[in-house]
Structure formats: structure tokens, C-alpha cells
């Protein structure tokens, strides 16, 4: 006969967290096509720009490579992982009822969201390390003038991208829809934020909006840290606002089934 008193609650401990993070890492690593853009595209941008802008940089005395190209490449890494890849996993987990399945175990489906963010952070760190290493090796670029600031700004920008990703996962009904919405946001943010060339070339209103969005704000803030310039508070506030607004909507709109 059942004795209720013997039934004790047990929240999943460090071992469960480790297994879940490992499970998400395995899912990400085995999704080969999802690795190409965050790791490949930034390298491609570094190489293409590295061959074309170096003379220009010397001629004008402005370190375009440090000011724009590297920041754009690194921002692409965190934006693709946060805004496109992560939500596609989460929407897929909801659609196939993986989240519901977890909800009937002692684990909380929220753990899977946290595990995806942790894996996304690790993946971003790897992507950033590859990008920076390539820039240093092939294009004679040094470490950022303000290394600590650059890392902090990248971390803040990554959080902003994951928050936007959570928003995408909250509103997308399927994994496919998540990729579509995520890619649309990625290109909107990117195009207005300097992904296809320095924002000086954009119409002023577009550039202004782009700088207020996470991609443009991240590019400006990382660029400033790299070139040793001062941080513009507006860009940091834009990133913080993206986190707060996206997180608030996600918490309200996220469906588990």
C-alpha cells in the first residue's frame, strides 16, 4: 500500500543539468547544417573584406577592419545562433511535444530553455574564438584595445540575441516557422545594422533605426571597444531594452504545448 509520507520531492540536481546541457549540445552538434552559417559566414566575411578593405583602411587612417568588419563577423555569430538556430530547436521541441514529455518527469521544461542558452553561449564563444583567431592569424589584427569591455559588450549582445530568440520561439508555431521568422529578423537587423557594409552608406533614418536594434547596436559597441573608442550609452541601452522587451513578451507568450 502506498504511504504518501515516503514520497519525497526531488529537484533534478547537477547531474541532470549536466546531462541536459550535454543532450542539447549533442542536438546542436548533430544538426550539421545549423553549424555552417554561424561558423562559416563570419569567416567568409572576414576573408572577403580582409582582401578588399585593407588598403582603404590605411589610406583613410580609419581602422575599418577593426571598426566594422570584425564586429560584424562576431555579431553574425551570436545573432545566427540566438535569433535563428536556438528558436528553431525550441519551436521544434514544442511541436513534437518534447517539452510536454519533460513536463511529466521531475524535470521542468524550462530547464531545456536554459540548457539551450548555455549551449548557445558555448557555441558563440567557440565561433567568436575562431573568428578572432582567423583575424589575428591572417589579417594581422591585434586583440581589442579594451579587451574586457569587448567581452562584456559581446556577452550583453549575446543575451539580447537570445532574448530575441526566445521571442521568436514564443510566437513561432513550428520549427519551420521559427527559422523563417528568425531569418527575417536576422536580415532586417543585419541589413540596417551594417552587415552589408558600413552604416555610413545607409540612408540616415535607416542607419539610426539599425543602431537602435540589437545587431547594429552590437556592431557599434563591439567596434568601439575594439578600436579603443568610448562606449556610446545609447547602444548599450538599446541592447538592454531588447533584452527586457523580448524577455517580457516571451514570458507572457511562451506556450509549452
Amino acid at each position: 500500500m502506498t504511504d504518501i509520507a515516503t514520497i519525497r520531492a526531488h529537484r533534478p540536481g547537477p547531474r541532470a543539468w549536466a546531462r541536459l546541457v550535454a543532450a542539447e549540445a549533442t542536438m546542436v552538434a548533430r544538426d550539421t547544417s545549423g553549424l555552417i552559417i554561424p561558423f562559416g559566414l563570419p569567416l567568409l566575411i572576414l576573408v572577403m573584406n580582409g582582401m578588399s578593405v585593407q588598403d582603404e583602411a590605411e589610406a583613410t587612417g580609419i581602422p575599418i577592419f577593426e571598426r566594422y568588419v570584425i564586429p560584424v563577423a562576431l555579431t553574425i555569430v551570436i545573432a545566427v545562433i540566438g535569433v535563428v538556430n536556438m528558436p528553431s530547436f525550441l519551436a521544434y521541441y514544442r511541436r513534437t511535444q518534447v517539452l510536454r514529455r519533460l513536463a511529466v518527469t521531475p524535470a521542468n521544461p524550462g530547464m531545456i530553455l536554459a540548457a539551450q542558452v548555455i549551449v548557445g553561449m558555448i557555441q558563440s564563444a567557440v565561433g567568436i574564438a575562431i573568428g578572432v583567431a582567423a583575424a589575428m592569424l591572417f589579417f594581422d589584427v591585434g586583440l581589442p584595445e579594451h579587451l574586457g569591455t569587448a567581452l562584456a559588450v559581446l556577452g550583453l549582445a549575446a543575451l539580447a540575441m537570445y532574448a530575441v530568440g526566445m521571442f521568436v520561439a514564443a510566437v513561432a508555431p513550428s520549427g519551420n516557422a521559427a527559422v523563417a521568422i528568425g531569418l527575417t529578423l536576422f536580415f532586417l537587423f543585419g541589413a540596417s545594422g551594417g552587415m552589408f557594409g558600413p552604416t555610413d552608406n545607409l540612408p540616415e533614418p535607416v542607419a539610426a533605426v539599425g543602431e537602435a536594434l540589437p545587431f547594429g547596436a552590437a556592431v557599434q559597441a563591439v567596434g568601439a571597444a575594439w578600436a579603443g573608442g568610448e562606449q556610446n550609452l545609447a547602444h548599450l541601452l538599446a541592447l538592454a531594452a531588447a533584452i527586457v522587451v523580448s524577455a517580457a513578451i516571451s514570458v507572457k507568450a511562451f506556450r509549452w504545448d
Partner: protein, 304 residues
């Protein structure tokens, strides 16, 4: 104390009343079937028992615990297999078993359980590459990882071939032998008849009847039918005095006798006494499906 007790459960989705008034009492160690058509409220009922849905009215106790308020305690001792729920597609059987095992304080050995459900050869196979039967066996194994005292199985064998289905049935019977309480949601009459100690018939969000499968059949008051042929015509009056017989007709040289109780034996004995030789004797007994039709007054939709 019953292992699972549901009283006056009510659940509405928008304008649809999914569960109107459902009360169930599942005893410890029994296999309890929940049977009904699509939309009868079966899945909503068991999902409320599992703590996935908040009832609009009524109470639910599982092993004495409230599925919502005592969620963290109940999760340790209640195993649930969900209809149509999938798993991480790129993880292997072994990876999934170890992952889910880590959620429980106490539990089964993943390798041993993999062997018990017959997935040893697939333990390095990714979930997305498993056949329907293999995936379902993995689902059962996951539901049993925490050594549960009660298990909810929703559409256990839907989509399985007969062979895989029989393997599943043997596993569920093994659970009963271990004293685990099982709630089985099913569409499949043969499955319910074979496995369930008792079952609840649901129709339009209400419990129509609760009984053993045989009890439901007799409760439906459906007649048994004995048909036979005789070489020579005989006086059917010899059957009139048999208590079990309700009617006797002769159609195209065949005698059709309806009645109840031990009809076949009673008719045979009466014929022997009257020296009538019966040929091609056929006996039809009402099935659970017939009982379902009679008790719910609607066609049973066994498909989908």
C-alpha cells in the same frame, strides 16, 4: 485508499466541454482501462490525472497527492506515456534513457530496462531512426525509469503491428505482477479485454459504466445466439421449457436460438434429451464492442 481517485472532474476548452462529470476510483495494482470514442474525454481525463491540465471543477488525487500542488513529489512516483509525444530526434536510445534517468532520485538501471523492452540492438540508434514499435517501447521504458508506483499509458499500441502489440501487452501484464497501478487509455477492444481488470466507458465527457470487461458485456444485457441445422425437422417446443432460452426461430432450415446465461450448454442438453442431432452448431456471444454500442448508444469509431 484508492491509488487514483477522480471526483466530479470537469474541463472546458473554450466552448467545448471536454469532460463534463467524470469520477473514477482506481485500486492499487489493477490495470484500469479508459475506453471511449475520439472526443469522449479520455485524454483530457488522464492528462488532468498526470497534472498537465488544471481542472475547471472536481478533485484529483494520485497516490494521495494533488497532481498540481504536489507536482514535485508526484513526478517521482508517477510514470506517464503521452500519446504522440516525441523525444530529442538526434539522441540515441541510450542517451535518452540516461538523460531521463538523471531526473529521478531513485530509478531503474537504464541498460537493464533497455534490455527488458528489447531495444538492446538499438541502443546506439537515434530516436529519429527508430521504427514506430521501437519508439513506443522506448516510451514505455522512459515511463518506467523512475520505478513508478502508478503509470498512465495513453494509446499504448496505436500504430503497432500485431506482434509488437503483443509484446507491449506482456510488458503491461508484467507491471501488474510488480504491483504497479496502470491506467490504460485505449481504442483497441481486444487490448482492453485482455489487459484490464476494470474499465470505465466514457461518452461525451461522462462515465457511462464501470465494470470488468465481462461484467460490461453482461450488463449490456446483450443476447447470446446459438445457430444449428438438423437433418430432420424437429418440434422446437423441446426448447421452450429451457430457462435460458428467450426465442426460437427457424430460418431457411436453420434454427436460431437467442437467450442468456449458459445458453450453449442448456440448448445442447435439451437437444440431446429430445434425441435431436444438431449439425454445424455456431455460438455467438456479444463482444465488448457490442456492449460499447449498446451502452453508449452510438457507433464505436475504432479508427484514427
Amino acid at each position: 485508499m484508492p491509488a487514483i481517485e477522480v471526483r466530479g472532474l470537469r474541463k472546458r476548452y473554450g466552448d467545448t466541454l471536454a469532460v463534463d462529470d467524470v469520477s473514477l476510483s482506481v485500486e492499487t495494482g489493477e490495470i484500469y482501462g479508459v475506453l471511449g470514442r475520439n472526443g469522449a474525454g479520455k485524454t483530457t481525463t488522464v492528462e488532468t490525472i498526470a497534472g498537465l491540465r488544471r481542472p475547471d471543477g472536481g478533485t484529483v488525487r494520485v497516490l494521495g497527492l494533488d497532481p498540481l500542488r504536489d507536482r514535485n513529489r508526484l513526478r517521482q512516483v508517477l510514470g506517464v506515456q503521452l500519446q504522440e509525444a516525441e523525444l530529442h530526434s538526434a539522441l540515441t536510445v541510450r542517451e535518452l534513457m540516461r538523460l531521463y534517468r538523471s531526473f529521478y532520485r531513485e530509478g531503474a538501471d537504464p541498460e537493464e530496462l533497455i534490455e527488458r523492452v528489447g531495444l538492446t540492438e538499438q541502443r546506439r540508434t537515434r530516436f529519429e531512426a527508430l521504427s514506430g514499435g521501437q519508439a513506443q517501447r522506448l516510451n514505455i521504458a522512459l515511463a518506467l525509469l523512475g520505478l513508478p508506483r502508478a503509470v498512465i499509458l495513453d494509446e499504448l499500441t496505436t500504430g503497432l503491428d500485431p506482434d509488437a502489440r503483443r509484446q507491449m501487452w506482456a510488458m503491461v501484464e508484467g507491471l501488474r505482477d510488480d504491483g504497479v497501478t496502470v491506467v490504460l487509455v485505449s481504442h483497441h477492444m481486444e487490448e482492453v479485454e485482455r489487459l484490464c481488470d476494470r474499465l470505465a466507458l466514457l461518452d461525451r465527457g461522462r462515465v457511462v459504466a464501470v465494470d470488468s470487461p465481462a461484467g460490461l458485456v453482461s450488463r449490456a444485457g446483450l443476447e447470446q445466439v446459438v445457430r444449428f441445422r438438423t437433418v430432420e425437422p424437429f418440434d422446437t417446443a423441446v426448447l421452450d421449457r429451457v430457462e435460458e432460452v428467450r426465442s426460437v426461430r427457424v430460418v431457411d432450415g436453420r434454427t436460431v436460438v437467442t437467450g442468456s446465461g449458459n445458453l450453449l450448454h442448456a440448448v445442447s442438453a435439451a437437444l440431446v434429451r429430445a434425441d435431436v442431432v444438431a449439425l454445424d452448431t455456431r455460438f455467438d456471444q456479444a463482444t465488448l464492442e457490442d456492449a460499447f454500442l449498446a451502452l453508449t448508444g452510438s457507433a464505436f469509431d475504432g479508427g484514427e
